[in-house]
């Protein structure tokens, strides 16, 4: 476990020592370690160039861009419905949640509002994406720290959610189901009862994870006190989602800036925070959020109104001139789209604010002074999806 009081100052001292290639205290030589681009702990192609002094990290610099697909350029030559299919691929574990902020931004510019039933189903699918996404985090993080069982349980139980998403949208990973003005289709017959069963199953999974992972002594010693991010650092780096709430900031866009078109104000739920800011706190907050999301889904299923799922919109979507920034609390954190329209079929400019980009920009700060095995805990607990960093 790290026992350094001021990682910043220790790291600065160590950095100057490494520059001289020799640590004066221990007479160790500095060394550069490349983690990735194909490291299992990086969920894809992220590379971390870590300068080490013995077992201690002196500096860690992420190298991005191995998966850069140029989405911001591509959006300028695609119509709004086409972009919807494209942005599914940003955070591929919670795809439906990617569509929602973009569709809501377009709806705000057009002055369209989806019918209540569509808003309900949107919120349900949004929260189900969160359950699918974060349940995999819990398993995967356990896997990275050596608890293989958690990984298998997560893949097994996530399938319950994906099956339900597939039943209504037709796609397990890339639903492309949200439309400007509503949804593509209504729910299939029997779906509500099945989803109740699936959510009960996931609630049981959360209990299981609480015992298996969070309650595990080895897990706690690998995560408690590791990678502490204080509140002011988290804010100035723009960390969002569970990473921010684990640093004690009570901020959730579902509650504090929910755009019209989602119905979080119609139900009773809670924002979870943790004061510690370490790897354990981030895992704990995510676990509680998964449970809360399953409860939100169950509440919404019981109150879902009847009616159409699509408002009247023109067949050819031309978005009036204007600018709008709409952000939602996605599974990974705040995801927003700054859409500039010139009244055309295609947007003039779309700035995609993705959560993981900000979330991992804190790595150079937080990894300094950590030990190499702790780097795995830190990377895993910050939880990023490569498509969400590189876009």
């Amino acid at each position: 476990m790290t026992t350094i009081d001021e990682p910043q100052s220790v790291a600065d001292l160590a950095a100057s020592a490494t520059d001289n290639r020799v640590n004066l205290d221990f007479e160790t030589e500095g060394m550069t370690l490349n983690m990735g681009p194909q490291h299992p702990a990086t969920h894809g192609t992220l590379r971390i160039v870590a300068k080490l002094d013995g077992e201690q990290v002196v500096s860690a610099e992420p190298v991005c861009g191995y998966m850069h697909r140029g989405y911001e350029k591509l959006t300028e030559v695609r119509t709004y419905p086409q972009i919807n299919a494209l942005i599914n691929r940003i955070d591929w574990l919670g795809s439906f949640a990617n569509e929602v902020p973009f569709i809501l931004a377009a709806e705000r510019l057009m002055g369209v509002e989806a019918p209540p039933r569509a808003q309900w189903i949107r919120t349900i699918l949004f929260e189900m994406s969160r359950v699918a996404n974060i349940s995999l985090f819990l398993g995967d993080f356990g896997l990275q720290l050596g608890g293989m069982t958690a990984g298998f349980y997560a893949f097994r139980d996530r399938e319950w959610v994906l099956n339900q998403i597939e039943a209504v949208t037709g796609g397990r990973f890339h639903p492309n189901f949200d439309r400007i003005g509503g949804l593509k289709d209504d729910l299939p017959k029997g779906w509500i009862a099945d989803t109740h069963v699936a959510m009960d199953r996931l609630l049981a999974f959360c209990d299981e994870m609480e015992d298996l992972l969070v309650g595990n002594e080895i897990f706690q010693s690998r995560t408690r006190g590791i990678g502490v991010i204080p509140e002011d650092i988290a804010l100035s780096y723009g960390l969002s989602g569970a990473n921010l709430r684990a640093s004690g900031v009570d901020w959730d866009l579902r509650r504090d800036g929910c755009p019209e078109g989602l119905v979080y104000d119609k139900i009773d739920w809670k924002v979870w925070t943790h004061p510690d800011g370490d790897c354990f706190a981030r895992t704990w907050v995510r676990l509680q959020e998964t449970r809360e999301a399953a409860k939100i889904v169950k509440q919404l299923l019981d109150t879902i109104p009847s009616g159409p799922v699509m408002a009247k919109v023109p067949r050819i979507i031309k978005v009036p001139e204007g600018e709008a920034y709409v952000a939602c609390e996605n599974p990974l954190g705040e995801m927003g789209y700054y859409v500039v329209s010139k009244g055309d079929l295609v947007p003039f400019r779309v700035k995609i604010r993705s959560a993981s980009f900000n979330n991992i920009s804190v790595i150079p700060w937080v990894a300094r002074g950590a030990y190499v095995p702790d780097l795995i805990s830190i990377l895993g607990s910050l939880y990023f999806i490569l498509g969400d960093i590189d876009r």
Partner: protein, 226 residues
């Protein structure tokens, strides 16, 4: 449910005057004075403040003091109309095929105004006030540089690197302005409007066909959906 309304949200939305955002704007004007050159309030939704390039760094400081401590994003906009046409067809191709070249579009800046081709924009949140503000600043073509925010908001570091490689904007005082995504020797700035999307230049995008009416629906182009 509301139907299609005009883009003029000022009158269409419920509160015509947004006192909270007016107060925020007043607080920023008190600190920045002449530094603010334009603003726009969308009642109930958003606030845009355009500042002069010289007061960009002071804006970050003022925002932090006013409680806008959450750094959201920083980016840029190239307001030049695409030389490759708004309908995804290149003007060169039209001329070659013998058709009339289209009139070039006038350059029109967005909310809170603007005078130059490139604008930097950044967004900050106040956790206590539960509000976001978008800041903009004009950059003259002759000198595409602006002060860095990375001293005030550490998160701006990466965003400025991205804006640098994508738009070619220099952030003065940035500690390490290297490419974020692109290879080190990459030529050009991809998100500038005059940077061609080569795949589209080689083969026209057939996607525009998607929005043709379905068979049997009729020829009315703006026809309503079922």
């Amino acid at each position: 449910m509301s139907q299609l309304s005009s883009a003029d949200t000022e009158t269409a939305e419920a509160p015509a005057i947004d006192e909270v955002r007016n107060d925020v704007l007043a607080a920023f004007s008190a600190r920045l004075g002449d530094g603010i050159v334009g603003s726009r309030i969308q009642p109930g939704h958003d606030l845009w403040i355009r500042v002069s390039r010289d007061s960009w760094a002071a804006t970050a400081e003022a925002a932090k003091q006013l409680g806008y401590t959450f750094f959201d994003f920083l980016s840029a906009i190239d307001w030049m109309p695409s030389p490759f046409g708004r309908d995804m067809d290149a003007q060169e191709d039209i001329v070659v095929s013998g058709a009339q070249a289209k009139e070039p579009q006038p350059m029109m800046q967005g909310y809170a105004g603007g005078e130059t081709r490139f604008q930097v924009l950044a967004r900050l949140y106040s956790i206590n006030a539960k509000m976001g503000v978008t800041f903009k600043a004009d950059l003259p073509d002759s000198d595409l540089s602006i002060a860095t925010w990375s001293n005030t908001f550490a998160g701006a570091n990466w965003h400025e690197r991205e804006a640098k490689e994508m738009f070619g904007i220099n952030f003065v005082g940035h500690p390490n302005l290297i490419n974020m995504y692109l290879p080190t020797d990459f030529q050009g700035h991809p998100l500038r409007k005059d940077f061609p999307l080569l795949a589209r230049r080689v083969r026209p995008w057939p996607g525009i066909v998607d929005v043709e009416p379905m068979p049997g629906v009729g020829d009315d182009e703006e026809g309503e959906g079922e």
